[in-house]
Amino acid sequence: MNAVEPSSGLSSYLQEVMSEYLSDVVAGGIVKFAMKRAAHSEEAMLQEGIPESLVSKLKRGIDIFVEDANKRSDCRARLDQLVGYKLMGVSAGPAKQTPEGPSVVPIDDEDDIVYARNKAKQLAEKVGFSRSDQIKIATAVSELARNIIKYARPGKIKIQVLEQPSSGIRIEAEDKGQGIKNLDEIMEGGYESKTGLGLGIVGCKRLMDNFNIRTGEYMGTTITADKYRG
């Protein structure tokens, strides 16, 4: 129901990320071991964010325990993104310079759609998007979340603030469903489903600046869409 906000500390957040690829026990073990090896305490991480040395230790664990090559590189990439990641609200430095971590909203029932789009709107407002862009972003999130609910629940939506190459927002919808078989037809905009106007994906594409979709029968679907300011 709620976004995963790492309230219980960064190490448990790391564990949470990794347990998507591994069992909870193994993920927990790797985090504990890596913390010890990198000689980093939870308190130090609160001040300085997740250090690179810890991430590289974690990646070593991932290399050993995650068998699937795709998953492995996926997990490594996600860990790389977390370097320097800090808890919200406990930043030590000036608040503006703190890079905001991604908000992850699990999408499991219809109410999560509302939650996800509100979260997106909040973040878009924070980044400084105009009101109409805020609504476009929130609508795009709503479309993607609804697609997950209708066709591939459960999934999740990650909303991330972009700073480079230009400031903006990235939404990433991920599910482990059956994949989209008639993608071409859908992208042409001619498809009309029974439950909607067939506008979910193509509508999202039209509303955002950058759009990327990866889908396959056994790998589920990941849609990434960016919107830039100005």
Binding site: R117, R131, Q134, T139, L197, G203
Partner: protein, 143 residues
Amino acid sequence: MARNIPIIKIYDNLLVSIQIELSDHLVNELKDNITDEIQNTNPKGLIIEVSGIDILDSYIARSIRDISQIAKLMGVRSVISGLDPAMAVTLVEMGLYLTGTDTALNLEAAIYMLEENKRGQEIDLEEIMDEVTHSNRERGTRP
């Protein structure tokens, strides 16, 4: 039954003012409630006021369009009023058009539209009556 979205009868019209965040569940509930209410109160028009809606995605937009089409099938003209400008832009950019539904800038305009419509119907009826009487007279039958 407690309703999340009130449906208010005002003179000859039904007014639905959506002031809360719409979930799929609420939209479906609204669809049922409106058809019930139309049957019970026999209104002339239906106004769906959407100025309180924050986000209108394709599913919800379609559902609101459906409600207005359903009302039409039941003989009630409906007007959607108060669509937020940014939302209107978003819907058009997405390629979604609310075809077959009447829209008004705000509630006042919507009421005015339905009033015009009613007056229009009355005039039409009188004209038809006149024509009938006239043609009957020509044919020599009693009016």
